[in-house]
Subunit: 355 residues, 3 copies
């Protein structure tokens, strides 16, 4: 048992090294005639997009890492396992997406490869939010391998076979899925823990740590939606649209958080999560000419729907039981969620009622 | 009462959407002949300045957001309301500045518009520091609308009518005003709270959270001062001058903090705030050839003046009274400041004596 | 005694201003014929590399600053003194490196000067990790002046006289030295403190603060290794190689952390420090064509060695003694390390046994 995690982790890393040894090269090694471009222009493109990549990278490591620290008991797991998943996901995502798009031939590492690897990793980090504290690190590693493979296969079918709009598709798949996972996990965990610990400093600080995650996600979401746009005009549109969707989203999220809160109080869970809904919602059409006011309408609706969804779609029942007796999860398949009581051996079983 | 915040927030967002629907378009829609430039070059300029914009954006959301978290009781308010103000301010600032500079005609959204919106938002976030915990979210929203309108009007008069130097003017108005507000609020709050809670872990951690704000402001201040410079040479000068002013400022701020502290101890309030004085002070002339040593002299003086100002200009009296009986504030108009005692129902009334 | 710090700090700042007044100018003032380039291209180069510089700057201030906050008692010292050292180091490093490379002639401030100043500052911040809480601020200032002078002299001899590869040399000197210092300080401190305070919230939160440092270092390390590369192709190689070394390093660091941990548990010290070993290890050859899989092998070994080194090279004895009686340190010279007991007057003396 103790050996399983080290063995799986080392085995996976060795596999990655072997796969990269056979299939992955620098883009400067690519035959240039084939691409109608020189090494110089490829490298220039790499450095030009590098700031956008760094923004996305901060979102993946700092944003997603700290977003889950509001769970007092899982602060280390959140930040630490987030880094582990990202490290594996970035390697495996680079390989599996590259191999599909290149039909089994050599992958030449460019900036888009590593941005796409960040995207595929984001999918796993979302699901991670829903299973945090429930599955072991070994299971997390296996889930990373499986989920990214499914994601890459799905993206390939949608993008290459059906020729659907690439940006839209990638957003539909992972960003929306991402947010859905966040919302579910956020509500189930947070409500239960809140009820017990409302007054504790530690929870208070946990929520401040989570705001580090929220803010870096919010600030850099325009880069996320624009990083892989084809043309610079599409990049411009994606940045501006996402920006205005996000600012509008904040106002409606706060308004409805206060409206559904006790005595008009704002709920930190909404502030941490629903403020990001605008970035997700506009993702599918961020590179189109929807006009700034169109983006703001989308963001306003997303903020509203997100808060109301948190409040009314997640009616759950909270049973106090002995440790260990909750059935295993995923929340959306009707099973229950467990959160340990901090002061005695009781366990909360949070069971969503109306999904 | 409970409905007032949601209604005001939603009303403001609907107003923004309507105003943006009538007045705001993409800069790629602009008639190109008029501007002697193509869509391509406009979009290139957007992406070229985008990293500087992101630096400023991090300052607004993370920097200002966390700077106020040293107030143990107002950590959520600080980060949460900061985001709310920013979201409204970024929309309203984009509109009101655009409409003034375009004399009521269509606003074409470029990178300078959203950087300027960040600047106008900064003004409000500063004042926010001084009123944190004292006024309601509804009042904050109204203050945001009013203050940005006044700021934009003032900037228009100074810059367009009097033809004053734009960078200098914008700095004089908001950065200096910003720092002034920070200094006043910082001292009044902090000193009172410190005296009571010197040993508490929570305050300790609150101060560490505040350092997140300080450091991101300190790191990105060169981008703040250079983001809207006209030429690339002015950008270069603004970055280098601000950089050297900031590093010099740190040494004198620490030196004088130790000099005026008890038994030579450094004060976290000075470290959190006075280290930024160099960025503000050099703001008005950052794009001029003041030489690196000139910038360092400016920074050194700013750090010194800031710490001494904190120490000696803010003699206040601290009355312990029953809850609620302090008169309402602004500190600089001679009224008193209230900080709740954490362990009993007493209230500190901090009254500045010599402003 | 009380006056020594203010006087030394002010004296150093005045000296810096005088030195800069005589020796440092803007690069736009440089005689252009001599350099075969115009002011415009120099300024363009500055702005082009500015995002990489900002990444490195975030590492220096936020990364190193927060990395040491896991030491519960030294959170303020860690972040606060880090900023003080950086402010002095950035000025002195700019001057002393410039004066050596220009053989005593005028220094024209370009982007590489301030990136190199960040590098020389990093050296001091590392050593700072090992002496945190043990030496006074005055001693820190003196150590900053001396260590950067030695670093710059050494770099000059290696790079200019022996004509060794510059990137490699700079990495060998400071990054490896850096990591060594971190590892030693991390283990000695952390183990001792851990044993006492394992259950305390404050330590828990301190570790989360430290992860802010770790993550920003991890994210931006590719920029660190590529910032001063000569050509854009070398920059590309350095970014890609460092990236893949880092991701591989995480998996082996986690695997071996679990392997050597009690009941397979991960150790936050390894996660905070060993995950960065990949960035350091690949530093010396990051700009060479070692292939992505080569970088991954280097990173894997670095993660493994780092964790095992932490575990087995730092057997130390822990004596509980009365306050103050431990001999003064550096750990690697055989002396002992002191950590105050938090609840009584006892002191831990941690003495490395087998270095």
């Amino acid at each position: 048992m103790k050996l399983s995690f080290p063995l799986v982790a080392i085995g996976l890393e060795v596999s990655m090294i072997v796969l990269f040894g056979f299939f992955v090269k620098y883009e400067t090694e690519q035959n240039v005639q084939q691409q109608y471009s020189t090494n110089a222009t490829k490298v220039d493109k790499f450095l030009e997009l590098h700031p956008l990549f760094q923004d996305v990278h901060v979102m993946i490591l700092v944003g997603f890492g700290f977003l889950m620290t509001f769970l007092k008991k899982y602060g280390f797991s959140s930040v630490g396992i987030n880094l582990l998943i990202a490290a594996l996901g970035l390697q495996w995502g680079t390989f599996i997406q590259g191999i599909l798009h290149n039909k089994g031939q050599t992958i030449y590492i460019g900036i888009k490869n590593i941005i796409n690897a960040d995207f595929s990793t984001a999918t796993v980090l979302i699901s991670f939010g829903a299973v945090l504290g429930k599955i072991s690190p070994v299971q997390m590693l296996i889930m990373t391998i499986l989920e990214i493979a499914v994601f890459a296969g799905n993206e390939y079918v949608v993008g290459e076979i059906f020729q659907a709009s690439d940006i839209g598709a990638s957003m539909t798949i992972h960003a929306f899925g991402a947010y859905f996972g966040l919302a579910v996990a956020g509500v189930l965990y947070q409500s239960g823990l809140r009820r017990q610990n409302e007054k504790e400093e530690s929870v208070y600080h946990s929520d401040l740590f989570a705001m580090i995650g929220t803010l870096f996600l919010w600030i850099f979401w325009p880069s996320f939606n624009s990083a892989i746009a084809e043309t610079t005009e599409q990049q411009y549109l994606a940045i501006v649209n996402t920006y205005f969707s996000l600012v509008a989203c904040v106002l409606t999220a706060y308004a409805f958080s206060s409206l559904v809160g006790k005595r008009g109080k704002l709920d930190m869970v909404h502030i941490q999560n629903a403020t990001l809904a605008g970035g997700v919602a506009v993702g599918t059409c961020a590179d189109m000419k929807i006009h700034p006011y169109g983006a703001m309408i989308i963001g306003s609706i997303a903020g509203t729907v997100s808060v109301l969804g948190f409040k009314f779609l997640t009616v759950y029942q909270d049973y106090h039981v002995d440790a260990g007796s909750c059935s295993r999860i995923f929340p959306w398949n009707g099973n229950c969620w467990r959160a340990d009581h901090r002061f005695n051996s009781q366990v909360h079983c949070l069971c969503p009622a109306i999904y």
